[in-house]
């Protein structure tokens, strides 16, 4: 204080005696000198307190550390929860994508795991139900289910189950409060919280009743089909509700789990005050306790039963093989029928152990029964119902035409594109008769007999073409006896003309003159032409109505013989006749 008093005294001296403003001013100055720094500090502090921005900056510097210090304080959790919930809600409403992105790595595996577990459980259940749905035991179990009012699945489960851990309780050992509870899919649970508490009470009751130490406790409860195995740790107990007969190894599993729960959640167990949130992360560990084991069917099957089953299997196999083979033969038979001309398969079926085929059949087609043996089918096993029809395939039309027309030996029939063609030599009567008959043949659209030659016409033609009309050397005079030949030819031509007219046909008579090789062509050709004209004149062709006549002289170009003897030369001094039909359109046969 002394240091503060001296400046005041000095300032008072500087003013001098007449300068004094009074004691108040002096006091103010004195106060400023003494507490001035503190006043400035106070003003600065006041300014900081009044400035929200400064406060926010300062709080932000210590906030993370403060939150860390109060991590385990439930009051902080409760205080923050509403704000965080509102913040999350607002964020999701504004844009759910960031939260979805953040959750994706967690949600994806969790969903996959849940789906896999559900599918596995469903498949196991389905498998067991199918496995036991068709056996004689299933019938018995269904009766039991009806009698007891239980579901069939439940009865199957009870009869096939070795054991199944249906529920797992993780309980605070001190208070009996339930920390976590897991159950199998189909397990019935009334109220796990109260069961947990009552279970604790019963344990306490048992321990009190038998005055055992704290370390000793109730480890097993048995109620009907259910067994409760209890494993205790320093702070928590694990109770597993098991249906069936559990193996001893399961006890080791429970012990291992309770130890690991204490290892991983020791702090949370020690400080447990009713908040079960920290124990959510123990669920995967507890899930390992939910084990199940079904019976394996160990019954040895009787050898006789096996033999009977084998025989039945063999019989079934043989029957199946026979059926397949018969079926294959039947199909091949049908294919053959379908490929056969004149047979139309309309339907095929199996009735009363017999094969039945219905269809149409041309009378000229092969008998369907004749196919049976080649396909190793018995007539006793196949019934064919065939309605007759007339097939229009060329082979059938032709065969039918042959049957109806009955062509003589010299006539051939052909059928193509709806046209029936006849060729060869036949009597005029047959030719005339064939026209209406051919039109009546089913499938014949047109009949073409133009290549038919009347046998009488053929005979006269043959005679004419065989006639030897020889001439004296260098003249157009027939050799002795040649006039008789000419006269015969004349008669033949007239007969031919008459026949052609009767048949409505037209012929060409070609008269060709020849000469021997003695003279020069310049004289032989005219000579041969005159010989042809001479014969034409002798044949009186101008009287012919159905025959056209052509004459020509070829000289020695077409000798009958190549010899040089007089007899050979005589043979070459001749006139040859040829007769051939010229077109058919005008013939009455074709009209």
């Amino acid at each position: 204080m002394g240091a503060v008093a001296n400046p005041a005294a000095a300032r008072s001296d500087d003013r001098g005696p007449g300068e004094a403003n009074g004691p108040a001013a002096a006091f103010t100055e004195l106060r400023s000198l003494i507490v001035g720094p503190e006043q400035r500090q106070l003003r600065a502090l006041q300014a900081r307190l009044d400035d929200p921005g400064t406060q926010a900056r300062e709080v932000s510097q210590v906030l993370p550390q403060a939150v860390l210090l109060r991590t385990r304080d439930p009051q902080l959790t409760r205080a923050l929860a509403p704000t965080i919930e509102e913040a999350i809600t607002a964020s999701v409403r504004k844009n759910p994508q960031p939260l979805a992105d953040a959750m994706f790595p967690v949600i994806g595996p969790a969903i996959r795991k849940a789906i896999a577990a559900s599918l596995s459980s469903m498949l196991e259940s389905l498998n067991r139900t199918l496995e036991h749905s068709l056996s004689w035991r299933a019938v018995k179990w269904r009766i039991t289910a009806l009698r007891t009012g239980k579901s069939f699945a439940e009865v199957v489960l009870l009869n096939t189950l070795v054991y199944r851990v249906e529920q797992v309780f993780l309980i605070d050992r001190r208070s009996g409060l339930l920390l976590q509870h897991l159950k199998a899919d189909s397990a019935a649970v009334p109220d796990a919280d109260m069961v947990s508490a009552m279970l604790t009470a019963i344990r306490d009751f048992a321990r009190d009743s038998f005055r055992v130490s704290e370390a000793e406790a109730l480890e097993t409860l048995e109620i009907g089909d259910l067994t409760v195995w209890i494993e205790q740790g320093p702070h928590a107990i694990l109770a597993a509700v098991i249906r069936g007969t559990p193996p001893h190894e399961l006890r080791s599993v429970l012990q291992d789990v309770i130890e690991r729960v204490h290892s991983q959640h020791g702090d949370a167990l020690r400080s447990f005050d009713g908040d079960t949130g920290p124990f959510e992360s123990a669920r995967p560990l507890l899930e390992t306790c939910l084990q199940v084991q079904y019976q394996r069917d160990r019954k040895r099957t009787s050898p006789w039963l096996l033999a009977i089953a084998g025989a039945l299997a063999l019989a079934a196999g043989f029957w199946m093989f026979s059926s397949l083979r018969a079926r294959a033969r039947w199909d091949a038979y049908l294919d053959a029928l379908r490929a056969e001309p004149g047979i139309v398969v309309v339907s095929a079926d199996r009735q009363s152990g017999k094969y039945v085929v219905n269809g149409l059949r041309d009378p000229l087609a092969r008998d369907p029964a004749s196919f049976l043996s080649s396909h190793q089918l018995s007539a006793a096993t196949v019934t064919g119902n065939w309605q007759l029809y007339q097939a229009l395939e060329p082979t059938f039309v032709l065969a039918r035409a042959r049957g109806i027309l009955r062509p003589p030996a010299g006539v051939t029939l052909q059928f193509a594109d709806g046209v029936l063609s006849a060729a060869g030599t036949a009597s005029a009567d047959w030719i005339l008769e064939s026209v209406p008959l051919a039109r009546a043949v089913p499938g014949v659209a047109r009949y073409n007999p133009t290549r038919l030659i009347d046998s009488e016409i053929a005979a006269f033609t043959k005679r004419l073409e065989a006639a030897r009309l020889l001439f004296v050397r260098g003249t157009i005079t027939p050799v002795p006896g040649g006039d008789q030949v000419l006269a015969a030819c004349r008669e033949h031509v007239r007969s031919l003309d008459v026949l052609a007219k009767a048949a409505g046909r037209r012929f060409m008579l070609e008269i060709r003159g020849h000469a021997d090789g003695d003279g020069p062509p310049g004289s032989n050709i005219p000579l041969s032409a005159r010989r042809a004209e001479r014969v034409r004149t002798e044949l009186q062709t101008e009287l012919l109505q159905q025959m056209d006549v052509a004459t020509s002289g070829v000289g020695s170009a077409e000798p009958l013989t190549r010899g040089t003897a007089d007899t050979d030369k005589q043979q070459n001094r001749r006139v040859s006749l040829r007769v051939f039909a010229t077109g058919a359109p005008e013939t009455p046969l074709n009209r």
Binding site: R78, R174, S175, D204, F205, D275, T276
Partner: protein
Amino acid sequence: MIQKKVCMLGGFGVGKTSLVSRFVSSIFSDKYLTTVGVKVDKKTVPVEGEEVTLLLWDLYGQDEFQTVRTSYLRGASGYLLVVDGTRPLTLDTAVSLQQTAEQVVGQVPFLIVLNKADLEADWQVDDRALWRIAEKGWPILRTSAKTGDGVEEAFLKLARGILAA
């Protein structure tokens, strides 16, 4: 989720089970009281915007033949000491049980519940005795399991006290 264990203490016939029955619906039969000596029920109540599940351990009433199993008290976050207003001796029993409970669970919230308030004409608990209790700082509440008066309030008050502790 917050869970708390609450014990119902009191002499025989003071109405503990009736109070609980008024408060919750149970899944366990009352026969457990006479066999195991306790019956557990559950009630979820809202306390300051938070759901709190009370596991109510209804202990068999103490009388001259049977004492409360102290093992049932372990881990309790609070308890109700139920007194029958028509039977003064049940107040003494409650005081005795408070000492027992405090030995087991320590100083946790509790409440003296003067039950059977509907039988005011037959009321026999001395006010001076109640003053002595009040002087200890023990909260006292009148209830009637028959009419339901004060029952909900008693449990809510205890729950609030437990969360505030």
